[in-house]
Every structure is written in C-alpha cells, then in structure tokens.
C-alpha cells in the first residue's frame, strides 16, 4: 500500500506523528493537520487529505478510536483518541525510529552524532 506522500515521508511516519499528537491531546482531523504543520514549523508539507487514509488504518488496527461530538468552537467534529494499544505501538515505533535515525546519522555524518 503505497501512498502519494511516500516521497516526502517514509511509511509509517505520518501514523507516528498522528499518534504522538493524539497522545498529547485527543483531536479531530482538521486540528491534527494544523497541529502537525505548526509543530514542524511548516517544514513538513502534509497534504491535508492524506491524513484520512492514515487515520482509517489506525482505526482499523484499533490504535485509535473515534467518536462524534461537539468541539470547543461549537462544531460537529469526529474526535480521535489514542488507545492503550496505540500508546504501546507508539512507544515501540519511536524507539525503533530513534535507533534507525541514529544509525542513519552515523553513516551520513561520521564523527558527529547529533540530530538536527
């Protein structure tokens, strides 16, 4: 299952960011996009729509759950919440991602072990 933003992000990256955002605070789709773009200082240009297939995958894997409700701005929204399984999955992913990233950094910049 390839996706259009595979050139920009590696597979699973978007899911990871969604889970991380949701770990801080439950949110609906629109808020998630805003959040990710702001936190990355707009470095990551995520096409808004691509968020939804990722959300469906997370839903199906039961890593998040969704519920219809009313937002603080009084809009009808579908709010996503991370599940216990989602939290576990996120932690695993982050640690394996960090190890991988460290590895890549070491190969690309021998001598410097910092991440930017």
């Amino acid at each position: 299952m390839t996706e259009s933003n595979a050139r920009d992000l590696f597979p699973g990256a978007l899911e990871m960011m969604i889970l991380e955002s949701l770990r801080r605070q439950p949110a609906h789709g629109y808020a998630l996009v805003q959040h990710i773009q702001q936190r990355s200082n707009n470095l990551l240009q995520v096409e808004e729509g691509s968020l939804y297939p990722a959300l469906q995958r997370l839903l199906k894997a039961k890593l998040v759950k969704a519920e219809w409700g009313i937002s603080s701005t009084n809009r009808r929204v579908r709010t996503y919440q991370i599940t216990a399984a989602g939290l576990r999955h996120l932690e695993e992913q982050i640690s394996s991602f960090e190890r991988m990233f460290d590895g890549i950094s070491l190969v690309l910049n021998p001598g410097r072990a910092t991440t930017s």
């Binding site: 691509s50 297939p53 199906k60």
Partner: protein
Amino acid sequence: MNWIPQIFRRHSIYNDLSEEIRLHIEERAEQLMREGMSAKEAEREARRAFGNRTLVEQRSREVWQWPTLESIASDVRLAVRQLRKSPGFTMAAVLTLTLAIGANAVVFGLLDGLVLRPLNVPQAESLYGTHYGDNPTWQSYPNYIDLRDRNRSFEDLAAFNMVLGVGFDTGKDPIAANGFAATGNYFDVLRIHPWLGRLFHASDEHGPNSAPYIVLTYAYWHTRFHDDRGVVGRTVEVDKHPFTIIGVTPPGFQGTIMFLAPDFFMPIVNEEEMGAPSLKTRGTEHALFESLGHLKPGVTPAQAVADVGAVNAYLEKAYPREIVHHDTALSREGLTSFGPAVRAFVAGLMVLSGLILLAACANLGSLFAARAADRSREVALRLALGSSRKRILRGLLTEALVISLAGGAAGLLVSFVLLRRMSVWQPIPGVPLHLPVTPDAMLYVVALGLALLSGFLFGIVPIRQILGANPYEIIKAGSSAGTGRRLTLRDVLLVAQIAICAVLVTSSLVAVRGLERSLHSKFGFDPRDTMTAGVDLATAGYSADKVPAMQRRMIEAMGTIPGVKAVGLVNGYPPLVYTAGNRADVYKEETRELKPRNAAAMPFRYEVSPGYFEAAGTNLLAGRSFTWQDDKGGPAVAVVNSDFAVRMFGSVTGAAGRNYRLQDGTLVQVVGVVEDGKYMSLTELQQPAMFLPFLQSPSSAAYLVVRSKRDPQQLAAAMRRKVRELDAGLPVDTQTWSQMLEVVLFPARVATMALGVLGLMGAMLSITGIFGMAAYSVSTRLRELGIRMALGAAQKEVLHTALGRPFKLLAIGSAAGLALGLLGTRVLAFIVYQATPRDPFVLAGVVVAMALLGLLATWIPAQRALSVNPLILLRED
C-alpha cells in the same frame, strides 16, 4: 470470520468518513474566510489544500476493503482447494444437499403457487366463493339470482360454469377448447379490465341466448390467434353456434380456478344453446360451478356465512319442492372445493420433504464429522505449528459455506427445471390443467436460506472435536486414534438418517400398494377391453325426436364390427369419468309430499340402453336388464344397484318388482338389481345408483360403450368408420374407458408419484450415508485390517471387523424407521386410497429394500477392505 460483521459495518464507516471530510473542508474554508478571503475563494483554497478528495476517500475505503475482499477470496480459494483434494466427500455432500434442497424447493414452489399465493386478480384478499349446499356444484341459476339480490354481504355476486371440450372453430379448423360460461357481471365483480377490445357486462344479458360474445384469455389469444389485434369483431363458431369475439383479458388472468386455465369466456345466458339445461329450472338439475364476490368493507366472513345461510333458509321455505337447506361455507376463491384436499396434500409433502432435509442434514453432519476426524492429524499439526483455532474453524466454516452454496444452487436448478415442467404439464388429454407454480424470487430465498442453514448447522458439528483437540496427544497416537467402541455423534446421526429414510421408503411403498389396489378394486364395471365413443347428435343438428332412432342405429352398427362382444349406450358420461355424475332425489312409493326433506335417497342416475350392462361388464344380481321394449310406450322401469335395493327395500332379492317415485312423481318399477360400483370418485363411500332406460328419457349427448378384445386402435378406427357410414358429418371422440379413468385416478397417481420420488430420494440418501460411514470405517482401520490379514484372518472376519458396525447401525435405523413409517401411514391413508400399513408386502418390501441398500452402499468399501495388501500398508506408516 472477521469479514462477516465488517460487511455490515462498512456502510456506516464510509458514511462517517465522507461526513468527516466534508466538515474538514468546511472548517478550513471558514478559517480562510476569517482571514479575509471571499466565500468563493475560501472554498476553492480549502479544496486545493485538502487535495484530491475522491482519491482520499477511495484510499481510506480501501483500508477496510482490500483485506476483506482478499480474505474472502483466499478463504474460498483455500476451501475449494481443500475440497478438491477429497472429491468423494465433496460429491457426497453436494449431492446430498442438491437432493434435499431440490425436493424442498419444489414442495415450497407448490405451497407458494397453490396455497400461499392468492388468485391473480385485484384485491384477492376480500374475494370469497360461496359454497352453498353439499358441495359448490349444487346451485341452480335462479338460486344464484336470489342469493345475489337478497344478500347484504357481497358488493356483487358473480357465478360461472365450465364449458369443457367444445369445438372452437375460427373458420379453418375446429379445435376442442375449454371455457367458462360466466354471468355478465363476472369481470366487473373481479375488477378485470380488458387488454384488448371490451369484456361483457351485466347490461349485455337480455334473457337466454341473447349475448353471443366471446372473450379470449391472453394466453389463448397469443397461441391460437398469434396476438392478432384484428381478432376483435371476428365471428367464430362454438359447437356450430356463431359468437363474436369482443375482447381479450389481460395477461396473467386465468379465470377463477387455480389449476384450470380456460381459453375463453362466454356469457352464461348463452350456455343454453350449447346444450345446457334451461337457466329457469330451479333445483339440482342445472348446476353453477361456483358463485363468488368481494365482501363489502367491514363485513367479516362469519357475518357473510350467516347472511347467506339466512337467504338459503328463506329460499328453502319459498321453494320446498326444489331446495333443501344445507350448510353454507365461504372459501378463498381459487381452489374451490379441492382446497382442503390440496392443502392436506401439500402439507403431507412438506412433512416428507422436511424429513428429507433432516435426513440430508444428518448425512451432512456425519460426513463433516468423519472428515474432521480424518483431518485430526492435519489440524493437530497446524495447531502445533502455531495456527490459531479460530483460523482453522474459519477454514472449516468456509468449506461448509462453499458446499452449501454449491448444493443449494444445484438443488435450485433442479427444482427450477421441475417446476417449469410442472407448470406446462398436461397429464390428462382434454383437461386444461394448469399448475401456477412458476418459480419466483421467494423460491430462491427459501432454497438458498435452507442450504446455508443446513450447511452451517452441520459445518459446526465437528467444532467441538477441533476445539477439544490436543495436538500433542493426537500426533503421538497417530491418525488411527479415536476409533473406540463408544457411541459417537456420528453413529447417532447415521441411525437417525437411516430411520428417516426408512420412513420415506415405507410410505412410498404403502402409497404404491394403495394405488395398485385402487386400480384393481371393484368399480362395478370392468374398464378393460372397453372402448367408448362420445357422440353428441345435437352438434350435428339432430332434432330431439330423431335422436333415439339414430342412437339405436349406431348401437346396431357397432354390433356388426367383428370381434365385438357387447355394445351399450349411456347418456352423459359413463361412471367414474371426469368426476361427473347426476344425482336425483327418489321417494318411497307411499310418500305424498315430494320435497327434498322427504327424499328416501339420492342415488346417482344413469340412463342406459339395452346391452349396456353386458358391455360395461356390470353383473346382474337379480331380475332382468333392459330390452328395446322399455321405451316411451312401456311402463317406467329401473335397474338399481344393490346398495339402492338394500336401502329402499331391505334386500337385493326382494327389490325386483317393487316401486319407488322420482321427483316428478313418476312411479318406477324395479326390474333388476346390479352389483355396486364406484360412480364419481374412487374414495367415495358406497352410494346408491339407479339405471333408467335411455329410450324413456332420451338425450342427444351419449357415450357408446363397446366391449371387445381387439386391438384398441383398430377397434377405434372401425367404430369411427361405422359412425361415418351412418353420418359423415358426425364428430366422434373415441377413448378407452381406462383412459377416461385418468381423471379420477389423477390425485392418487400424483400422490403416489410424489411419494415414490421422495422414497427414492430417501433411498439415495441412505446409500450415501451408509457408504460414507462404511468407507470411513474401512479407511481408518485399514492398518488394523492389514495386520489382521497378515496374521491370517479369513475374509469373513475381515468383513465383519470392517463393516459390522455400519450394518448394525443400518439394522437399528431401519427397524426404527419401519416402526415410525407404519405409524405414519395412518396419516397417509387420508391421501392415498386404500393405503394400509398392515400389509406383509410392505413390511417385507421395506426390509428387503433396506438390506439391498446396505449391500449396495457397502459393496465398494468391502472390496477395498478385502483388497488390503498388508505389506504395502505396513510399509507406509
């Protein structure tokens, strides 16, 4: 099976998704508007930022979709692969289901077509027929008029009669056709509108023979007139009387009798010129088949019965000589007085086909259980290798599903073909039988539902076996484990199945015996070696005074045919033909007030010629038969059957010379007594009958009865030739008497055929069941058998080891089934004439049949057991 609930959930998932995306874009647009964009710009920008919405939605859906489809496909592929590895099991299971589903679908088709589905007319639910009198055929036209005008329950009341086998001549060729003679308001009462031209109405009737109009049914218009729209206005001849075609009824309308489709309709006022008695006569001479109408809104059937009953009570007072008040009943229009019989028959079939389904389920259950046991090692291995039990069960259930669908589809196909053939079936020449059993969507639903239900039910039989499996034990013990001596579920299922099959075999044998007996029971005449010729002199224009002379010439001409032993003539129809018969009230000599309540008996009435009893093979018990001197000039005489003699005069021997009265007061002297017989139907109780000399009450329509041992075809040809020599323009209808008995034998024949087929299916099912059991028993103990043979066991001992158990089960099941079947035949006796369970032939037949089935089914497994080569076998494992 995760994908099953998902299929149902998916719809709401998709809806949520679309809604969510719509709201997302909306929110973005509002945000942009707050930042100062115009509404239009904002919306465009929001859409751009979101990207390709359709694609996003599709991608999101695929998340749910693809694995689902893929897993169904892979489950099914796996199941099919597994099933192909064991073709024997698959074939047996699919065949079993095909039989069961096929039988049940056909029976459901009958139920649906004959009982559940109302007549194909508007608002059929409020349409009722009035059964007035002993049976619906006993209502005169004046009676109907009174009932129509005096009742307060029906919106309007119509009536009809059947006009069977009349010559329908379009100018080129007269062909026998069948129609309804209906009252003018018939179509208006039924709310039927013309498809073409117009239909007749009450306003068309102006007294006898005033409305020479013909309305064609769509089907007849289509087949005989090839959809020719120019047919309206054309003149045709019906039995040489001119009629004008005025219209065509809409397709789908086939009159008001379920299984009789008429070709045309004519006004009942014109039935008289076709030879029917005058419409003015009150009493039982002229009979309407049935009157019918829609109940007024708010009137219940019970109220209507009371109302019609009150009218009848009034009529009885007003016309005491003609009318006797009988019970009144209403019935749903369509099945007429056959309703109860048809419903009982269909109910009986449903019970039996239900038994077939049960037997099939038992068969499937034991097949699945055997298969699961066979695969226990494979399952254990898979479990040991880490496969989940859920995954294995899912595979098994998918297999059950594939088999159910295959069996269900095959069964449906079979039933479809059978029902199609039934709906165009014309078993009796000259009778427009029409079974409205066209398969419809409901049938598919029922058939597939039954298939899935039975497949699933018995797909889960082995679940316990698998869930309880301990991989370690099974692998350690090897595949031959578990062939203990204790009673298994499989044994119980097999016994149940064999018992059910034995019930079916028993009932079909009982039915066949019953039919055989009714074919050879005493009819009171001998239909063998008897040819009949129907001749209606009225169709050739003979006036009433010329009829007797011409009939006598015909009788004498028949007598000159070489090989003819006796010739006679009977007015109307001979006994037991077309379930037709005339009955008339008779009175004791001393009775003064001749009204129905005082009648001494109501015998069947036949008018016959001299020589008739000899030709019919009816034995004369006392006195004499008729002579040519018993004519209008002579005294009124009669020959009666012995039931009549005993009823009226106390004995057969004392009857000759005694007198009784007819309805019109004529004093009749009994000159002879003949043996009892059957007159209207085979199942009737013994009825009285009287035979009057035909010369004393002549009628133009009569049957010649000719007794001869000559070849029927040659005889018929010779008879037609003789009639042609007398009058070349006289149509003759020759049939053997046995052929004409077809109609009265039809119900018994159909019942026997149905039971025979079901019995055969039961037999096939028990073969597959026993075969499966025996084959399985042999295959699991192959190694043991090999060792026994290597150690020197004799063939007999090997066979005993391998097949003893299946045979024991067969014996238990057959005994149980036989006992149940014999109890059940009490029920059968209601449908099949003379079905009795206390018949050594049936008992022996069932035992022999079941034993033969057992031998047949165990033959192949026995061969396999005997051909075991211990060397090869022991090397294998």
